[in-house]
Symmetry: C2
């Protein structure tokens, strides 16, 4: 039955955001995770390619590996005739080389004979009696993917803070990485206060309601790349709230809802003042006005309005 | 060293999409999951509220529960004086009622005395010697949240196929649900083919490259709400590919990359023709032309280009 204090000066929405951005520091914890789970994470260091991709010269088309000069002047009416002496499959290791007037059948992805310098596409050939007829000339380098065509060894392929979208996951796979160092997601403890608030799954007694805010806040945190750690509802009691916060200072952020309106139950602001510093309390938005932002022992803390709609709209 | 068949008619991109949409059927498997993990899932059935939220009449402000008519004509100069006889905290169960000229202190969320019909905000009162001075009249219903104000028992609050955004997770929590029935995510087996393709983590021998496609495709599948199940790379061999597909028909979708270009290695289209039906093969997009779509025993199958960039752009 004590006096109640009205909100002092409200902070504008834009100013509140700026203050928050200036106060919060990015997570610098790094963790190594399998690339299968790295999607949408932030890379923690620059990455140099330690192999070339592909790591060997290979055929870019299905056809025949040749010495280009042996196809010069070929035409439909006067095809060049090369003896088919072998076949190299994709995945084969080869140390073959071509002798004069020879060709070797290759498929897209096959490594090439050492001294072949072009591939004639199968569409411009015919095959008969051990001999390939070539109807069009090719230039040196035609239909060949040089070693390192996709990624050259030693180049910086990904940068610190890159967001790992599917294409970048592909780069990691191409280089053979199984694990990668990314910034850890912030661990955020989510606390609902209110002596009338009960955890879902319990039976409501008269005068009680279910906790809503810790579920909506957790969903929003997940959506934004954090790991929410829900706490069971805490009674409107100065000492209990203080003790829960004291035990939560190892988290990277504390989000606590309820108890942040003006009134006898405005316990949170007193607790934050006692334990640390209130940076702002009261934002010029509706609903959501009683939002509080403070810092305790370097751990930022948000006090959200207790009423679910207000809480949600300000999360 | 066999003949190679060129692409027949290419399907336009728009037509390909329409065909896919007509052919695929939504997953009808339903699973029950904790609401903490229900974010972004699709609700599998309509949901009626089986309790009212709030389940009791409560104070919407901090102040004093009164009989409204006893505040009529109150003013700053002529306050109405009511005896403060009790205090009801949020979370309390109460069977109090007010006698004439009495009031009871309440906080936002407190249940109300049976015969109180309004709450006077603390801002318009002063307290002295056991008596509350009321400076403004209130109307019946002022500053009171009626039972069921947020959700009325029996109303349909969520519908089948609703996407569970944070606000809807909040509705589930408000009603006390711990678990909820949602549609299962499609399980998709992701297979890379290519005799030269090796799983990341293995050492590359000459002529080999790392599997890229199963990682990029898996990331894209996750992004789109599916569960990718990666298979180790499969050699370019008719019988091996056939056997892997035969063992994958219990999945809701098969995505297989490589081997879908025209060439001797165009094994996939032969396998699909043998086991089921090709719906289209070849799409008018670049890169990504050789994309194949078919169906085997009611399981849809996509054949993606083997070259990582083409594969990614068509996923």
């Amino acid at each position: 039955m004590s006096a109640m204090t009205p909100f002092k000066l409200l902070t504008s929405y834009e100013k509140a955001l700026t203050i928050i951005q200036k106060t919060l520091r990015p997570i610098d914890r790094i963790e190594s995770i399998p690339i299968e789970t790295a999607h949408d994470r932030l890379l923690a260091k620059d990455l140099l390619a330690d192999i070339s991709v592909p790591p060997f010269r290979r055929a870019a088309m299905d056809g025949y590996a040749v010495k280009a000069k042996e196809t010069f002047h070929a035409s439909t009416t006067k095809p060049k005739r090369l003896k088919l002496v072998d076949k190299i499959h994709a995945g084969d290791s080869t140390d073959r080389s071509l002798k004069s007037k020879e060709c070797i059948q290759v498929a897209t992805g096959s490594p090439l004979p050492k001294n072949a310098d072009a591939v004639v596409m199968v569409e411009y050939t015919s095959f008969q009696g051990g001999v390939v007829n070539i109807f069009r000339p090719v230039y040196p380098g035609s239909n060949i993917s040089p070693k390192g065509e996709d990624i050259e060894k030693g180049t910086m392929v990904l940068k610190k803070n890159d967001l790992l979208i599917p294409a970048k996951i592909g780069v990691l796979a191409a280089l053979g990485y199984t694990h990668i160092e990314v910034y850890a997601k912030p661990q955020v403890i989510v606390i609902s206060t209110g002596s009338e608030v009960r955890k879902i799954g319990s039976k409501l007694e008269s005068g009680q309601i279910y906790d809503v805010n810790s579920y909506t806040i957790s969903a929003i945190l997940k959506e934004n790349g954090a790991i929410p750690v829900p706490h069971s509802p805490v009674k409107d009691n100065h000492e209990e709230i203080k003790s829960v916060i004291a035990n939560s200072l190892d988290y990277e952020l504390i989000v606590i809802s309820g108890g942040s309106s003006v009134g006898e139950r405005d316990l949170l602001s007193h607790v934050v003042e006692e334990m640390g510093k209130i940076i702002f309390h009261g934002v010029q938005v509706k609903p959501g006005k009683p939002t509080l932002f403070g810092i305790i022992d370097e751990t930022p803390i948000f006090g959200m309005p207790g009423y679910p709609t207000s809480c949600l709209s300000n999360s």
